[in-house]
Symmetry: C2
Subunit: 185 residues, 2 copies
Amino acid sequence: MGQKGAETRARILDATQELVEAGGYSGAGLNQVIAASGAPRGSLYFHFPEGKDQLVGESIRRAGQAIGAAFEDLAASGASAAEFAEGVLRHLGDRLEASGWSKGCPVATVALEMAAVSDPLQQACSEVYASWEAALRERLAGRRDADDLAVTVLALIEGALLLAKAHRSREPLDRVTGQLAALLR
Amino acid sequence: MGQKGAETRARILDATQELVEAGGYSGAGLNQVIAASGAPRGSLYFHFPEGKDQLVGESIRRAGQAIGAAFEDLAASGASAAEFAEGVLRHLGDRLEASGWSKGCPVATVALEMAAVSDPLQQACSEVYASWEAALRERLAGRRDADDLAVTVLALIEGALLLAKAHRSREPLDRVTGQLAALLR
DNA sequence: AAAAATATGTAGACCGATCTATTTAGGAGC
DNA sequence: GCTCCTAAATAGATCGGTCTACATATTTTT
């Protein structure tokens, strides 16, 4: 793939992620993706010949990797588990508020919309969550109930992010931060 | 409103809730609602003259009240806070699994899809969550950090339900149950 | 109580807009 | 010269929503 092609491909994925985060899988039309990315229709189906499912699936996996990498950076920074949790929640809160309460978890909306109706997208979401769970498990290794704790931390983050987006307010994130830090102390 | 009218109205709301839980706001078409409820198009717009937004908004509020009432029943049953949490998670897990991983939280999908794009639906979701938070706050009254704790419990439940649906598995609910009980002990 | 009038609800054809996807053609880069 | 990629017209289906005609209750009038 040439350089130009790779760029349009990335622009299409960027636009897709943005639109899907704002309005979900069904809410994000391919016409909007085309308009937002500036790429013509033909390019979209050249780079993603299997259509919308492939496009959104790749977009989710890419976002999952990016966030997973941020997790691991923060985990490797030597911060305590509680500081780590605070950092994650603050970072996600900043992103959510700065986007006008649009960008929460890039996976959650699609997961809820598609888990019951699309096998490939359910699988993509499940795998991204599993990778985050594994990263948290590793960060918490050695603790009692590390496996349960990792899932609990992820659930708490996802739930807080959901409530914050629903209320269009950081309050749920702030309230949860203290409790999460206490849980990890 | 006559008896017959009230029945079709309820059938339309039932079908809407089912379809929205499975595929989200944009994923649930009015044609599907009509087919599933057996009501003709004219009846839909007679009972919900403001269209899809009104229909889904009422559906969410109705589901919110039903679950809120179940919360309060369980809270009034004399169970401890930890038992209460276990009961809620078990009940939600049963519902989720029995529906083929379709019925999680009836509000969450719409909240994530619409919070950034529709003021009336964002408000409806926010109000339902606020009512649940209030119910939990009351159940936890007297505790230290009762307000933070109520939001945390709700976030944990919502997050666990999201992960369970995404993985099509009760495992996240089971893992979180123990941690939530410990948090409330 | 019978009949007329009004409100309530049902039924589906129809509309323009938008959806995802295909196709055919040509330009850009190696 | 040949692959890679762009460009847009087009197709058929489905979308939310409107409209008119009709049926069924419910009330009003006589």
